[in-house]
């Protein structure tokens, strides 16, 4: 440290204050709300006289909490298990075998990653609904069944749909782990006569065990916090999860914010435990190394003729994960209004028209949603990346005391379910006399807080690869610290910053569950607009809108890929 006027100290205090404001204070208010019998914003909300454990007692007393806990557990673990098996299989196929069309598989998974979950959830309702699901119709026609074999409105249906949504995340995480492995140990094992199976079980698996466990934990957190599938499929199936309960308690009259806070605190506590486990497991493993400096490529197993079998199986997974949902969405987008949804049949073809597209392009809500999401995506991505670049620099490149706390604070949102964060922000800005609620700014602040964690991991990994010597040389040559950071360090970080920026942009377009709590008229992002149109029952309009969203996201991704390619960001 170079005295009290050291700009590093001032910057540290400034970013710490921002993170405390963005993350710690909303959570503190939420935690207090769970033990207060007063409404947030009421005069006595912060008074100790409002302290009560009644909300927790009511949560236990009703008996419903146990059911919700069981549903949430089955849903999250089932989803994690299925997504992990399928995602790891695809990652293995792409990274460690000579299966054909590996690049195609990777592109399809990346495309699937950017699709909003609400669209694919709705697509699966169209596909596997008992009465009108296209797959059921086909199965009954082809096999002469009297009853539809599939029922999407079930726990199995929920797990299937969510697993398809999380699959690309597992694919990318496990792919990175498999790719980062030093192949020499496996090669030594094979050379010494151990077979492929034994090498895999004794060498490969133990090597990537930390990555496996970390992936499982991250996916489990995602399964607990997800909203779209439990809301759209779980509610009709009467399988309520914590996230849906929070949403119901805060969005439906009469509201019960105390109970919502209890549920939010419970899942927050559970996710925090998982995060703690995750931190322990990844202390020595950098799973998020988007820009890695490895100089080796793991060997690929020659599968011989079996490579066509693995290729076929991969294509089946991609068909279920991406192909069928897109086909059904496209079909529904051409189906006329007031006829509900009808399965894909030749008889219905003459009814198809462009009406939904004409209507959607003329729809105020749709136009607003595109503008809002574009603004939110670009702004939140830019602000988050700039903020987190500074935070990552403090935690990785300085010896400032307290930097570890900053690191933990910035990564903490990974354990905060989106809906919990939405409720926390709602309370914060309803309580404080800051005129943010009811404007688009509350969504922007929320998005920045939401995406801090992943941006932090990407930027930390990127920062560790920047050598200090250049920055120090600039300072020795007389440049101020600020100037050398701006002109030397930041340009070196550009690939990492671009990767984080793209990640935040895409996920801002996908965001729904947190936005649903704090949006207001005029500020609806795309996720909320889709949900709104779904709730108003305009399936054709919704599908046409969905197709346009997909096209927009693909366009953004191609532009991002071209731009980022110029700056040396790798595909992963």
């Amino acid at each position: 440290m170079r005295g009290s006027r050291d700009p590093r100290k001032i910057i540290f205090i400034a970013v710490a204050a921002i993170l405390v404001w963005q993350i710690a204070i909303p959570l503190a208010i939420l935690l207090w709300g769970s033990v207060s019998d007063s409404r947030p914003g009421a005069g006595d909300f912060f008074s100790v006289t409002s302290f009560t454990l009644d909300n927790f007692a009511r949560a236990v007393e009703g008996g419903r909490t146990t059911d919700v806990l069981i549903n949430t557990t089955i849903f999250a673990t089932g989803t994690t298990a299925l997504a992990f098996v399928l995602g790891t299989y695809l990652a293995w196929v792409v990274e460690r075998t000579n299966t054909p069309f590996r690049a195609f598989i990777t592109i399809m998974m990346i495309l699937r990653l950017i699709l909003p979950g609400i669209l694919t959830t709705i697509s699966w309702i169209f596909l596997a609904s008992p009465r009108v699901g296209t797959l059921n119709h086909w199965a009954m026609d082809i096999f002469g069944l009297s009853e539809p074999p599939l029922n999407i409105y079930s726990m199995a249906g929920m797990i299937w749909v969510e697993a398809m949504d999380i699959l690309p995340l597992v694919f990318l995480l496990m792919g990175a782990a498999l790719r980062s492995m030093d192949p020499s140990l496996e090669e030594a094992s094979l050379v010494s006569g151990k077979g492929l199976l034994r090498t895999t079980s004794r060498i490969t698996l133990p090597l990537i065990l930390p990555a496996i466990l970390a992936t499982i934990i991250l996916v489990l957190i995602r399964g607990i916090e997800t909203f779209e599938t439990p809301a759209l499929i779980g509610i009709p199936a009467q399988k309520f999860t914590f996230v849906v309960e929070i949403w119901r308690q805060t969005s439906t009259t009469p509201t019960d914010f105390g109970l919502a806070a209890v549920y939010a605190v419970l899942i927050l506590a559970f996710c925090s435990c998982l995060l703690w486990l995750y931190n322990r497991m990844t202390r020595h493993a950098d799973m998020f190394a988007v820009i890695s400096g490895k100089a080796f490529r793991p060997r690929r197993t020659d599968l011989g003729g079996m490579r066509w079998v693995t290729c076929g199986a991969s294509m089946v997974i991609i068909m279920f994960s991406l192909g069928l949902p897109m086909i059904i969405l496209l079909w529904a987008s051409f189906y006329p209004p007031y006829r509900g949804f009808q399965p894909i049949t030749m008889d219905a073809v003459p009814l198809l028209s462009w009406d939904n597209y004409r209507e959607v392009l003329d729809n105020d809500l749709v136009q607003r949603a595109f503008v809002n999401s574009t603004f939110l995506g670009l702004t939140s991505a830019t602000v988050t990346v700039l903020l987190i670049t500074v935070v990552a620099w403090i935690t990785v490149k300085t010896k400032i005391r307290g930097r570890k706390w900053l690191d933990h604070l910035a990564f903490a949102p990974i354990a905060i379910p989106a809906i919990t964060m939405g409720v926390a922000f709602l309370w914060l800005y309803l309580t404080l006399p800051i005129p943010v609620y009811g404007t688009i700014w509350i969504l922007l602040l929320l998005y920045i807080a939401r995406f801090t964690a992943v941006a932090m991991r990407i930027m930390s990994a990127s920062m560790t690869q920047v050598n200090d010597e250049l920055h120090e040389a600039a300072e020795v040559a007389g440049a101020s610290w600020l100037r050398s950071f701006r002109t030397v360090t930041m340009p070196l970080l550009r690939p990492g910053m671009l990767a984080a920026w793209i990640f935040v942009l895409v996920h801002a377009y996908r965001e729904l569950s947190a936005s649903l709590i704090v949006y207001s008229h005029g500020n609806e992002p795309i996720g909320v607009a889709i949900f709104d149109i779904w709730e108003n029952g305009s399936y054709g309009l919704l599908s046409a809108f969905g197709i346009l969203v997909v096209l927009a996201l693909v366009f953004f991704s191609i532009v991002a890929r071209v731009v980022s390619g110029r700056y040396g960001v790798k595909d992963e």
């Binding site: 205090i13 710490a16 204050a17 405390v20 710690a24 204070i25 503190a28 208010i29 019998d37 409404r39 914003g41 009421a42 005069g43 909300f45 912060f46 909300n55 009511r58 007393e61 009703g62 419903r64 909490t65 059911d67 008992p130 009465r131 009108v132 509610i235 009709p236 009467q238 309520f240 805060t250 969005s251 439906t252 009259t253 009469p254 509201t255 019960d256 105390g258 109970l259 209004p337 007031y338 509900g340 949804f341 105020d364 400032i400 005391r401 307290g402 706390w405 914060l428 309803l430 309580t431 404080l432 006399p433 009811g438 649903l516 709590i517 207001s520 008229h521 709730e535 108003n536 029952g537």
Partner: protein, 366 residues
């Protein structure tokens, strides 16, 4: 030492935030009768509304809190702005729970930003009990049908009725039961759908059938495991798709719209008795920052132009007969309406009953 300083700093930040929250009174929306326009003795309606409009222009805007759907809200904005172009219309919408919570919070904190609250009976009762609304009787209320003239500090601007409807490809109209209990028969198992948030419908049935008969019906209905689907339009669309044979609680105006457009659905005529009817209501928020504009908006709702907004969506208005033809009169012909005025039903209790009966129980109310 420095780490301790950091912790101290974080603690100060946290405490500061909380303290700032405690003192969260931003002023705004001061209560005052000064400058509020009232109708003079012998003054014509039009003259009074002209003066109200002038005063509202000085206030500049009117803030309307509601949870209406996008289409309806836009129609209100357009129509009001056409009639009173110098008053900016500022709609604030969110889900019904959130918007009610916001209005209550603003009232409790003395930081009122809304002028008019639009919502159902349950919301209006909650606001009235919290002292968050104040009475204003629009001069245009003289044109409202007697059954929709309210005693409390709110006005009825229209109403919604809940009807059973069926998919014509799946169900023969002759097979429909004449009374609600008929839907408890086993033949309807798995064929029915109701709203996932069906507290208002339940409140109407309990009020019309009586507590005992109403509960008997709900309990036997639950055994038929009706599909719970959120949103009237979604249910109507799924009914048209053939996802289930009968929905028990469709909105009359929405069903009529689908019928007119040739969807394969038909509303049961006449509906089993009672036919629950809920009111679309509006009220002026206490300490509204734009009290004249708030009054102007309430007057607007009870003009033919204001009512046209609802008629345009096939909804029923509250003005006395003869001013407008009922948009779906055919559906309520011979039906025994059970109009749920504020105070006529305990919505909190209905919500609890719904949760206990159809959602496997819920936490006890706070």
């Amino acid at each position: 030492m420095k780490q301790r300083k950091l912790l101290l700093f974080l603690a100060v930040m946290l405490t500061g935030g909380l303290l700032a929250a405690c003192g969260g009174d931003a002023g705004g929306g001061e209560a005052s009768d000064e400058g509020v326009v009232t109708q003079r003795e012998g003054e014509s309606r039009q003259d009074y509304i002209d003066r109200l409009y002038e005063a509202a222009q000085e206030e500049g805007a009117v803030s309307y809190y509601q949870s209406a759907d996008e289409e309806e809200l836009q129609a209100i904005v357009d129509s009001f702005t056409e009639m009173f172009p110098e008053v900016e219309f500022e709609p604030v919408s969110a889900t019904s729970g959130t918007i009610l919570e916001r209005a209550l919070l603003e009232s409790e904190s003395g930081n009122v930003q809304g002028d008019v609250y639009g919502g159902g009976s349950g919301d209006q009762v909650a606001l009235e009990e919290a002292g968050a609304i104040e009475e204003y009787r629009p001069v245009n209320e003289a044109d409202v049908a007697d059954e929709f003239k309210m005693d409390g500090p709110y006005i009825a601007v229209g109403y919604l009725s809940y009807h059973p409807a069926f998919n014509t490809d799946l169900v023969d109209e002759a097979d429909l039961p004449d009374d609600w209990m008929g839907y408890c028969d086993e033949e309807w198992h798995g064929e029915l759908a109701i709203d996932q948030e069906g507290a208002e419908w339940i409140a109407g049935l309990l009020a019309g059938m009586g507590e005992e008969d109403g509960m008997e019906f709900l309990e036997c209905l639950a055994e038929n495991e009706p599909r719970l689907v959120r949103g009237s339009t979604t249910r109507t669309e799924l009914l048209a798709s053939g996802e289930f044979g009968v929905m028990l609680d469709g909105y009359g105006h929405r069903l009529w719209e689908f019928e007119q457009e040739g969807a394969p659905i038909r509303t049961q005529r006449p509906s089993p008795a009672p036919l629950p009817v809920v009111l679309d209501m509006a009220s002026m928020l206490r300490d509204a920052p734009h009290p004249n504009a708030a009054r102007l908006l309430l007057e607007f709702f009870l003009t033919p132009e204001g009512q046209d907004v609802f008629f345009a969506q096939n909804k029923a208005g509250s003005l006395a007969g003869g001013q407008q033809e009922h948009p779906y009169g055919e559906l309520i012909e011979d039906a025994e309406l059970e109009v749920l005025e504020p105070g006529a039903a305990d919505f909190d209790e209905a919500f609890q009953i719904f949760g206990d009966t159809f959602l496997g129980g819920g936490a006890p109310a706070p």
